[in-house]
């Protein structure tokens, strides 16, 4: 039997001051990120903000500073440029200005074709999204987050009890907010795929939480003595190896996606990868302590 983690006796409940403080900092960063998104200061993807995104492949390397100069001269000073080294790929993203529904992809492609006549350009993809659609997609995304929170609380309340449901939902929201904060700090683009990653991680993080909760419930029934904190400690230690190994397998596939999945999925894969780590952390350090704090230390059996 290979065991990475053997008979651990970590006092998870004892260090909850520190982990809560750490989570608190994560939350603050996250909420700051959310506020910045609302103020329009975050790197929102053009599918949420509205605007134009063009991916071009040049035959030869293209000097970025000349492209920048050209676009600035044509009134697209705010456009962001991203090159993919070694592949001669250029991604131009121009956020929509206010309510203007103007589509600028043709203009930009023509500008570049005119500027680099001996460097043929293949248009790999174009996405132009009017601000109205961006707004609709934004509100759909928020609605999806809200509905999933409710559905999760209801399911866990049914399978465990209300307090477990709420604790799991808090842990899930911890992950969603923390991931948003980390992405904001990294300056990574937040688009619809990022929202998808948020929801996926929310669902996945619960998987780990449920495993821990299952064991806590079982141990409350079996042990009958000691405090809830002690029982939680025992339970978390008992399932620690599976919590970590289940996360490792998903983490591995996320890494494969991140390194080999290509540029279109890169940010999505990054969000999933970070999310798996945060989700595993929260199932161990956030969800269970909340149950203990809320339920009190008495070993009341959990109804099933």
């Amino acid at each position: 039997m290979i065991e990475i983690i053997k008979n651990t006796k970590i006092d998870f409940m004892g260090i909850k001051k520190y982990t809560f403080a750490f989570s608190g900092v994560l939350m603050l960063i996250g909420f700051f990120g959310v506020v910045q998104i609302y103020r329009g200061h975050a790197n929102l993807g053009i599918d949420l903000a509205g605007g134009t995104s063009i991916q071009l492949r040049f035959q030869k390397p293209v000097p970025m500073d000349e492209v920048r100069l050209l676009l600035t001269g044509a009134g697209h000073a705010e456009a962001s440029l991203q090159g993919v080294p070694g592949e001669n790929i250029l991604i131009v993203k121009a956020r929509a200005k206010g309510k203007e529904e103007k589509m600028v992809s043709e203009e930009i492609v023509n500008l570049l074709r005119g500027k680099f006549p001996d460097n043929p350009i293949t248009v790999e993809s174009i996405a132009e999204i009017g601000p109205a659609i961006g707004k609709k997609l934004r509100s759909d995304a928020l609605l999806a987050l809200a509905v999933s929170a409710l559905a999760i609380i209801l399911y866990l309340a049914w399978r465990f009890e209300f307090k477990f449901g709420v604790a799991a939902a808090i842990a899930t929201y911890h992950d969603v907010v923390a991931l948003t904060g980390i992405f904001y700090l990294l300056g990574q683009e937040m688009d619809l795929l990022f929202i998808t990653a948020l929801l996926t991680i929310g669902g996945y993080s619960l998987t780990d939480t449920v495993v821990v909760f299952d064991r806590i419930r079982e141990n409350i029934r079996l042990r009958k003595r000691g405090t809830l904190s002690e029982t939680i400690n025992v339970s978390v230690n008992e399932v620690l190896s599976r919590t970590i190994i289940t996360s490792v397998t998903v983490f591995i596939t996320c890494l494969a996606l991140l390194f080999f999945g290509g540029i279109v999925l890169r940010e999505f894969a990054l969000a999933l990868t970070i999310g798996v780590v945060v989700g595993t952390y929260s199932s161990i350090f956030v969800a269970s302590p909340i149950v203990a704090l809320w339920r009190g230390e008495k070993m009341i059996e959990v109804k099933r």
Binding site: S125, A144, L206, R242, L265
Partner: protein, 531 residues
């Protein structure tokens, strides 16, 4: 015991054979035609096969407005015909207009005249002041409602007619909500052309050129009320230079595109280049005959969506019901124009509010990279499981292969659309698939540590981990279903593959692995378990 094992193995074998039969046509083209044709296939999303996605906003209010303006014109003409002078007019909201009449009893006369002649409009007396009075006309709510209801359906039908000649396989034109149209053209490469085909209003009008007004005066704003200033825009083929030639035409359209019976490209135009010949229906032929007879030697402007295409001099009366539109078209532009004219004009103008175009090379690239990431991810997981759980890990790996196979079969059966995020969903599902086995194996290890015999430990492990596995699957399923509900195309694809992968995993991780352990035990009870 054996009976149950045989039953389960048979079930898995049948499912496997069926799955392979269903999946193969999606993977290769070298199969007998009957097999290839009869099985449902996994579709590739626009992001993988390339193509154009457009979302249009139908500007219904503009359609109502332009109808109201047409009624305003007609009302004015009716008044003038009976000698009632109209001083001016203006819009009243989107569905109404008001005419300004001189003081005296003109307003009253106009009101009774209009009520009689323009029965489909509600007229009422507006402000009465010393310098005149107004008559307000408003479209009936029923008519406004009809335009509202028709604008989107007519748009969808018209756009479909325009796209059909392109022969795009699996092209979709569908209404969305009350005022949107979504168009998907898989494999279509020319984005600008797609936008032009789809969003052109294609309102064709024939109006007389007003020779009595000088263009210079008109440019300064001195223009009679029944005339308007339009431009003829020509692009020089060689230099690419655009010239705008202003022209004054009568406001009233003598004939419009709805009287067209057919339109086709004609390469024998006198100016060289392609032209479009239109032939009118019976009524249109009669009108065109009258127009040309009454206006020989005058110029007739042919106007498309407010731009003058040409303004030839009428040389003689034309009774054949045919006209030719010239205007420096390329062959492709001319053929598109013919298609658009045949399909008719849109009632309401449309605006492209979302346009996603993926080139075929990027789609290919995405598929390759997606498959590469999937294979590498799956291999790493397989190796990890075999390393950490030894023989039992291999059993889990074996179940993983079934999981992927059944997932592909399920997608083919549902004719689901595979998108790039969908591939990511498959990869993520691979990582999650072995999780169920991890939970079970860890439980078995606990039982073995508690000194239970191997067989009892395995049974207890599966038994006790069951609800944990179900719970953990349901939570992922909940979010995947919500993603499916709220997500757009590519993200729906992610929700589909992830949720199907996770659901199928319940079967493969619980049934497919258990039967292996049961089989070994039935052959020769295990003394030790490699886990």
């Amino acid at each position: 015991m054996w009976k149950s094992i045989r039953l389960r193995i048979t079930l898995i074998a049948v499912l496997t054979i069926l799955s392979i039969a269903v999946v193969l046509p999606s993977l290769t083209d070298n199969l007998p035609a009957a097999w290839q044709k009869k099985t449902p296939k996994i579709h590739l999303g626009l992001d993988l096969q390339g193509g154009v996605f457009l979302r249009l906003a139908v500007e219904i209010d503009k359609a109502i407005e332009s109808t109201a303006l047409r009624y305003a014109d007609e009302s004015r003409a009716a008044c003038r015909a009976k000698g009632i002078p109209v001083l001016g007019w203006q819009r009243e909201g989107t569905d109404g207009f008001s005419l300004k009449l001189p003081p005296g009893d003109f307003a009253g006369k106009a009101l009774s005249l209009l009520k009689e002649e323009m029965g489909i409009i509600d007229f009422a007396l507006g402000d009465v002041k010393a310098d005149g009075a107004t008559v307000v006309g408003r479209m009936r709510p029923a008519e406004v409602q009809l335009i509202r209801a028709n604008a989107v359906t007519q748009g969808v039908d018209t756009i479909r007619n325009r796209i059909d000649p392109e022969g795009v396989r699996e092209a979709q034109v569908i209404p969305e909500g009350d005022d949107r149209i979504v168009i998907q053209l898989p494999g279509f490469k020319e984005q600008q052309r797609a936008i032009a085909l789809v969003s052109q209003v294609a309102l064709l009008e024939f109006k007389l050129v007003d020779e009595g007004v000088s263009v210079e005066e008109a440019m300064k704003g001195n223009i009679p009320e029944d005339a308007q200033l339009l431009f003829q825009i020509t692009n020089d083929r060689q230099t690419g230079k655009m010239t705008k030639n202003p022209m004054v035409v009568k406001k009233r359209a003598l004939l419009t595109g709805d009287k067209i019976k057919s339109a086709k490209v004609n390469f024998e135009s006198r100016q060289g280049g392609a032209a479009v010949s239109v032939s009118f229906d019976a009524q249109g032929t009669k009108i065109f005959d009258r127009i040309t007879a009454e206006n020989v030697k005058r110029r007739l402007a042919i106007i498309l969506d407010g731009n003058i295409k040409s303004a030839p001099v009428i040389q003689e009366r034309i009774s054949g019901g045919e006209a030719q539109i010239t205007g420096s078209f390329t062959a492709e532009e001319a053929s598109d124009l013919a298609v658009v004219l045949r399909s008719g004009a849109l009632i309401a103008p449309v605006k492209v509010i979302q346009n996603v175009t993926v080139g075929p090379s990027l789609g290919q690239d995405s598929i390759q990279k997606g498959i590469r990431a999937g294979v590498i991810g799956a291999l790493l997981v397989v190796l990890f499981m075999a390393f950490y759980y030894r023989l039992s890990g291999l059993v889990a790996d074996f179940a993983l292969i079934f999981n992927i196979l059944f997932l592909l079969a399920g997608m083919a059966l549902l004719e689901a659309t595979l998108t790039l995020p969908g591939i990511a969903g498959v990869i993520l599902a691979i990582g999650m698939a072995v999780d169920s086995n991890v939970l079970i194996f860890e439980r078995i290890r606990e039982e073995i540590r508690a000194k239970k015999p191997v067989r009892a430990a395995i049974d207890a492990g599966y038994d006790k981990a069951f609800w944990t596995v179900v719970d953990s699957h349901v939570t992922t399923l909940i979010t995947a279903l919500i993603l499916f509900q709220f997500g757009t195309g590519p993200i729906k694809g992610f929700a589909v593959t992830l949720s199907m992968g996770v659901a199928i995993n319940l079967f493969t991780a619980l049934v497919c692995t258990k039967v292996v352990f049961d089989y070994i035990n039935a052959k020769r009870p295990m003394q030790a378990l490699s886990i």
